[in-house]
């Protein structure tokens, strides 16, 4: 999956890829203070060719707010809300919303869902539908954080570690190794990294084509930009 992180007060963005194995579950957000967790499970293409790079996507997200006793599992097929012992399953084919005091989930059929958990968090999960007879690709999901201002400073995870504004200095912009793309040097978290100018897509408003988000790409699975290595974020279960 691709990650896009805004930096420097939303004036620029950093992007990186995380390559993982299909079936692996990555921790995206963990806030021990609010007892809030978001994990994502990777899926691969329909066919995996030997000795070829495996492209992976998020096929399922698990969101847990233990304080509210709410768990939400979002897959490309259904959205399941667990509230205490209750379980409600929505299909992506329906426009629906569920509200309970400060928790709400609102689904726009076949497009996206917005999840609000009190004042703490607002997320959007976008459904990417692929032609079902496509020989390679399959449906996948995108995860967007709209509001995270109430998370504690202890929040971590592949996304969570960036919920508090980070500053990065970018300089030495010059023609890159890829023709037509610029390279630059970025200083972030005390590391000096080579980054390449590119763009990623935001699919929240145009689920088919997306809108371009220019970003500085960090090579090698975000090495130096993320804390530790991607394997540090692998967890054993969605919840």
């Amino acid at each position: 999956p691709h990650f896009v992180i805004s930096i420097n007060d939303h004036s620029d963005a950093i992007c990186f890829n995380i390559d993982g194995k299909p079936g692996a579950i990555l921790n995206l957000v963990t806030d021990p203070y609010t007892d809030f967790v978001v994990n994502g499970e990777l899926i691969g293409e329909k066919k995996i060719e030997i000795n070829k790079k495996i492209n992976t996507y998020f096929g399922k997200f698990g969101i847990v707010n233990n304080k509210m006793d709410v768990k939400v599992e979002v897959s490309t097929k259904t959205i399941t809300v667990f509230h205490g012992e209750d379980k409600i399953v929505f299909p992506w084919s329906a426009t629906a919303s569920l509200t309970k005091e400060s928790f709400s989930i609102s689904i726009i059929k076949e497009r996206n869902l917005t999840l609000t958990m009190g004042d703490d968090a607002t997320f959007v999960i976008v459904l990417h539908r692929v032609w079902k007879n496509h020989p390679l690709h399959r449906d996948f999901l995108g995860f967007y954080t709209l509001d995270s201002h109430r998370f504690s400073s202890m929040t971590h995870g592949l996304l969570g570690q960036f919920y508090h504004e980070i500053s990065a200095e970018i300089y030495n912009i010059h023609p890159g190794l890829d023709e037509g793309k610029s390279d630059a040097t970025m200083i972030v978290k005390g590391h000096k990294l080579r980054v390449t100018r590119g763009y990623q897509k935001d699919y929240r408003f145009d689920p088919k084509r997306g809108t371009n988000v220019p970003c500085w790409f960090v090579h090698y699975n975000g090495k130096g930009f993320i804390d530790g290595s991607p394997t540090d974020y692998v967890v054993s279960s969605l919840f």
């Binding site: 509230h83 409600i88 929505f90 329906a94 629906a96």
Partner: protein
């Protein structure tokens, strides 16, 4: 009966019988066509006898004699009644539809056929199939009086929502013959066909008795998920089916109010105890319950309401086993006691905040002790409940005044049900309980664009139970409407739920073009059927002025759509020797104390050309 099903003794041969059922979006259109020939040298009386579901409305009946078709006309009951009276005064029996058992009505006519002449009977009836415990059932009672050369049942189902399963049940068929029932199923279409040959109809190789005697039942369900459901639009009418899946059940609080008066003694009391024990066993541990038993006095088990924990259930079962029959019948006091018990339990916060509270009354007789005026009891119960709890009344046996129970239920957002005195009475009681055992949604409101639609059927419901379905229909009054938005607002066990469906009118109409092969105006007829059914229900508890308006509207719709309802009759006129002779059909009332064995009705035979015949169909 000879090779081709001919009965040489009677001279009459049913050479063809076809039952054709077409279902689109749960609305079933059924046609029964029977062809009979008289091979005798003299006139013979041919009977056409069909059993149809009580929930169906007859829409057409015709007889074709000597190439001339005599078609039935639906008329206001009073008008038909005048003809009926004339017939009675001539010494004839009239009234062609009679209750037959629990679910069926019997339609019966007879006509004299001249030597070597043929007659074709054709009966049409329509019905909105009701989802019951997770499935729809089409019941066809098969009972030809003799072997039939061309016998055929064809059931075509078209459900744009997708068919989840399709099964049939024909217990009368020996095992080796079930394979002759052909079933095909695609994503949205199902077809069941049954076409036994003469040999396959024979009970034994050399005898003339037929195996075709029993119920041919088709069961199916449609695909469903947690969505606002599906909306169909055809020719300016829409129907919205809503039956969400994947919801958590809502706890319920049930007060069982059980009659143990003297009349319950013996089998009824034993069966009630048996059913209660099973119901208690099936109770969800999150539910709450109380038991009030009454004769001319009433008693609340342990004076309180209890959570259905294993211990409480075990204790209640011990109590239930001790209930025995004695005394008179005072329904008023225990019903008010049940309301007070629920009130107090809610006030004391003993019950879950979001839960369904209901009173299930089981009685076998009319009140004869304490407040015995039925109207007063209905008023008392309604006023005490004040719209907060549901009342379900189960009338056990034939001595109950069903209309009294029906009004008390409908006044309080419940339903009444007759429990037939039979060996399966405990199963009937449990079956009813199962229907209301799992509430999934509360306070369901279905909204549509106000300015674009009119003539909406009921769109607010107190509860939605697992296994059932909410159906709303209406007329699109805005000719330029491009899309119809249906929104559902409801409460789940914990949250508020909003569901939305938006359908593009042109797209939906395109889809429904595909189903025109079934019948084009089904949505409008479904709307009319549903409107009439709901108005009939409303009429039960309406005050005089409102009743008059409701009656007028039911009558108007019944006549317009040619439905034989409790307010209309069907008259078939057959010119004979320059006289107009009529047949009239009526629908029997549920309140008639009809024994489980159908009443025998005989229509006196008469010479073909001399005596006028008169027949009559309608519906209560």
């Amino acid at each position: 009966i000879g090779e081709h099903g001919k009965n040489p003794e009677s001279g009459l041969e049913i050479y063809s019988m076809k039952i054709d059922c077409k279902v689109t979006s749960r609305f079933a259109h059924n046609m029964v066509i029977s062809r009979v020939v008289n091979r005798a040298n003299e006139s013979k009386e041919a009977f056409f006898e069909i059993e149809l579901p009580k929930t169906a409305f007859i829409t057409n009946f015709s007889m074709t004699l000597d190439g001339v078709t005599y078609v039935g006309a639906v008329k206001e009951k009073e008008v038909a009644q005048q003809q009926y009276q004339k017939a009675v005064s001539r010494g004839q029996t009239a009234g062609l539809v009679k209750a037959s058992g629990r679910k069926m009505e019997k339609f019966k006519v007879s006509v004299n056929i001249g030597p070597t002449k043929k007659v074709t009977f054709e009966l049409t009836y329509e019905e909105l199939l009701k989802r019951h415990l997770g499935k729809y059932e089409i019941q066809i009672r098969v009972k030809p009086k003799q072997l039939v050369k061309h016998f055929q049942i064809d059931v075509h189902i078209f459900e744009p929502q997708g068919i989840a399963f399709l099964d049939f049940d024909a217990k009368f068929l020996p095992n080796n013959l079930t394979s002759i029932v052909k079933k095909t199923l695609t994503a949205t279409r199902g077809h069941v066909s049954f076409k036994p040959t003469l040999e396959q109809q024979r009970k034994c190789p050399d005898c003339d008795e037929t195996v075709l005697d029993g119920d041919f039942i088709i069961k199916y369900d449609v695909n469903r998920d947690l969505s606002a459901g599906t909306v169909q639009i055809v020719n300016g009418y829409f129907v919205h089916h809503f039956a969400p899946a994947n919801l958590t059940r809502i706890p319920k609080n049930v007060i069982f109010v059980i009659d143990h008066s003297g009349s319950m003694s013996g089998t009824k009391m034993r069966q009630t105890n048996e059913a209660l024990l099973k119901i208690l066993d099936d109770m969800n541990t999150k539910d709450y319950f109380a038991i009030i038993i009454f004769d001319d006095t009433s008693e609340t088990w342990k004076n309180s309401i209890f959570q259905a924990t294993p211990n409480n259930v075990a204790e209640a079962k011990v109590f239930v086993r001790t209930i025995s029959a004695r005394g008179g019948t005072d329904i008023n006091a225990p019903m008010l006691k049940a309301v007070r018990l629920l009130d107090k339990s809610h006030q004391d916060k003993l019950l879950p905040e979001r839960s369904v509270s209901m009173i299930i009354l089981l009685t076998d007789g009319d009140p004869n002790s304490g407040e015995s005026n039925p109207t007063k009891i209905q008023e008392n119960v309604k006023s005490a409940i004040n719209g907060r709890y549901n009342v379900y009344c189960l009338g056990f046996g034939y001595d109950v005044k069903y209309s009294f129970l029906e009004k008390m239920s409908l006044d309080n957002d419940g339903v009444a049900r007759r429990i037939y005195e039979d060996s399966d009475a405990p199963l009937q009681l449990q079956g009813f309980y199962d229907e209301v055992a799992n509430p999934l949604l509360l306070d369901i409101e279905l909204h549509y664009p106000e300015n674009a639609i009119s003539e909406l059927t009921q769109a607010n419901f107190r509860q939605y139970y697992d296994g059932s379905e909410i159906v709303v229909a209406g007329k699109i009054s805005d000719d330029d409407l491009k899309s119809l938005i249906a929104e559902v607002f409801a409460q789940t066990a914990n949250e508020n739920l909003t569901l939305k469906a938006e359908v593009q009118v042109s797209e939906v109409e395109n889809i429904t073009q595909q189903q025109l092969y079934i019948f084009g105006d089904f949505t409008e007829r479904l709307w009319a059927y549903l409107t009439i059914q709901q108005l009939l229900e409303k009429r039960v508890s309406a005050e005089t002025n409102e009743k008059k308006n409701l009656t007028d509207r039911i009558l108007e719709l019944s006549l317009k759509y040619s439905f034989v309802t409790p307010l209309t009759s069907m008259v078939v006129t057959k010119p004979e020797e320059n006289k107009n002779d009529s047949f009239v059909a009526d629908k029997p009332s549920e309140d008639e104390k009809v024994p489980i064995q159908q009443r025998q009705y005989s229509y006196p035979g008469h010479a073909y050309s001399k005596r006028p015949s008169f027949t009559y169909v309608d519906s209560d």
